[in-house]
């Protein structure tokens, strides 16, 4: 038995990544294969670890906010929003309505931008070249709005603890309205390319099936959980900002496969447009900053966990104060990290080519997985 060599066994160990375009960053997956079939997998992560949580302990509350942008760098606005809200909850600060509506508009635009990037690259991974050009075209429009608002396109640092740094620029409402008017038509365009496309359906239907029970057991949240048929969205279940004042639906899938998760995200983009339209209706002139002292110094011995529905799932911040200007501990609950944990469950029994589809469908950003 000890003499058994590589040739006697059908098992083959293949490394995928870290330098692999389909792993969306520096993810290394060790695959155990029997021919083309996957017997098991192991993720090796940490290539992008920067010790964000350690940095937080050595910065003041306000200084740490820009660092959160560098975690999920394709959805910086939502990252910053989660952190600001967590500290605001710790301090017990109420936001003025204008700040809330603005935050919601920008966060939903960011959700669309994140989903667009996902859709383009996911389709590209599966061999569809066109969608990536289409989605980046619309994503560009959103990034232009961000740039006009705060000067940055990716690492926006759009919000401050207690409100907004900048009031909206003059043409903001026109720009966003224009986007909302033409964007649903563009979603139809993507759907024309993919939804009933035979190759797309064959590559995605029945691939990477995850049942709702397994998803919950593994801590999976966001569109991946909803694709498995679980009707759960933090914006509905435990509303933050003013999400309880807007109407929107929570799309869910039935089969928990890659195709359903695709449909869920497409629908989410439509719902985001719906939310943005309602926010624009309610947007009125007013103050943009709540009552926050110049020096943020929460009392000692208090702690708060706050989570929001990020584009990829539940993004949580657990902030502990020791009464100084630096947080004693900031724990970031990254959605990608926990969603990636389900990869092994999803790839087993599939072909190597499907692994690419499944990594894509989880929608991970390694900056957030590794922190």
């Amino acid at each position: 038995m000890a003499e058994a060599t590589f040739l006697d066994s059908n098992e083959l160990l293949v490394n995928m990544g870290p330098q692999h375009p389909a792993t969306h960053g520096v993810l290394r997956v060790k695959l155990r294969l029997d021919g083309e079939r996957v017997l098991g997998s192991e993720c090796v992560i940490g290539y992008l670890h920067r010790g964000v949580e350690k940095i937080a302990e050595n910065r003041t509350y306000a200084q740490f906010a820009p660092y959160t942008d560098r975690m999920d760098y394709v959805a910086a606005v939502t990252n910053g929003m989660g952190y600001c809200e967590a500290v605001e909850k710790l301090l017990g600060v109420e936001l003025p309505p204008r700040a809330q509506w603005t935050r919601m508009i920008l966060a939903e635009l960011q959700r669309i931008a994140s989903h667009l990037l996902w859709l383009g690259t996911h389709a590209l991974d599966l061999g569809a070249m066109t969608p990536v050009f289409y989605t980046f075209r619309e994503r560009e429009e959103i990034l232009n709005i961000f740039e006009s608002y705060c000067g940055a396109r990716l690492t926006t640092h759009a919000f401050r603890i207690g409100g907004l740094q900048y009031d909206l620029y003059d043409e903001f409402e026109t720009d966003v309205r224009k986007f909302c008017d033409y964007f649903p038509g563009k979603i139809d365009e993507y759907e024309q390319l993919l939804t009933t496309n035979r190759i797309w359906m064959e590559r995605t239907q029945g691939v990477g099936v995850l049942s709702a029970e397994d998803a919950i057991a593994l801590g999976v949240t966001g569109p991946v959980l909803r694709g498995s048929g679980m009707h759960w969205d933090i914006r509905k279940a435990q509303p933050y900002e003013a999400y309880d004042k807007v109407e929107f639906d929570v799309p869910t899938g039935e089969h928990g496969d890659t195709y359903d998760r695709y449909l869920v995200r497409i629908q989410e983009m439509r719902q985001s447009v719906r939310i943005i339209r309602q926010c624009l209706e309610r947007l009125e002139p007013g103050p943009i900053f709540g009552k926050v002292g110049k020096i943020i110094k929460p009392p000692a011995g208090i702690e708060v966990y706050h989570s929001i529905e990020g584009p990829k799932g539940e993004l949580g911040y657990f902030v502990v104060s020791d009464g100084t200007v630096n947080p004693y501990r900031v724990r970031i609950r990254p959605p990608s990290f926990l969603n990636l944990q389900a990869l092994d469950k999803m790839v087993r029994g599939h072909l190597v080519a499907d692994v690419v589809a499944i990594i894509g469908t989880i929608d991970i950003v390694l900056g957030e997985v590794d922190r």
Partner: protein
Amino acid sequence: MTDEPKSPPNGGTSDKPVQRAAPAGPVTSPQKPAATSPPKPTPKPIVKPEPWASPLLEALQERFPGAISDALIFRGQAFFTVQKERLIQVAEFLKSEGGGSYCLLTDETVVDYPKREKRFEIIYQLYSFERNDRLRMKVLAGEAETVPSVTAVWPAANWLEREIYDMFGVVFEGHPELKRILLPEDWTGHPLRKDYDILRQDPEWVRANLKIESGQ
């Protein structure tokens, strides 16, 4: 200045003076304008966790007498500390229907208090879909102590506990494969501990693997 502390009818320590001052009502009323000028009373309410009371807590205390302590609530978020020895039983109960079906382990992490006798506070963030409720469970552990792994109850704990082991060096008993997850496997030290300086690193690892002298 000497009058001012008397005038604001605060709670807590000033209970008795207020009762005594009741007959001398006219004396306090002229002071009112003076009392309104400092706008201090608004930020004054002491923010700290309050005792938590709920049917779930009662059920827990009844089922596990003496195992639950420090049940508090702050900003609507309830949390309690559970005895390490009873952790798995409490976790199983909370996951069961009778315990509220807290079937989603949202997060598991550690806060390090090096000066305390039991320095590690392991924190479990739980969520129940049925109740739409969050709950925070804590377990205390000392430097050399192991903590029972909850991977059998909530499989999501697998990577979370590996990360804790990596960052804090807390060892989880019964974990299927406890090894580092973010840092290289042969790294020494646990960076998120409070006594690990932000500029510190493992110079030997850096020299051996990156072929450079430590850049810090």
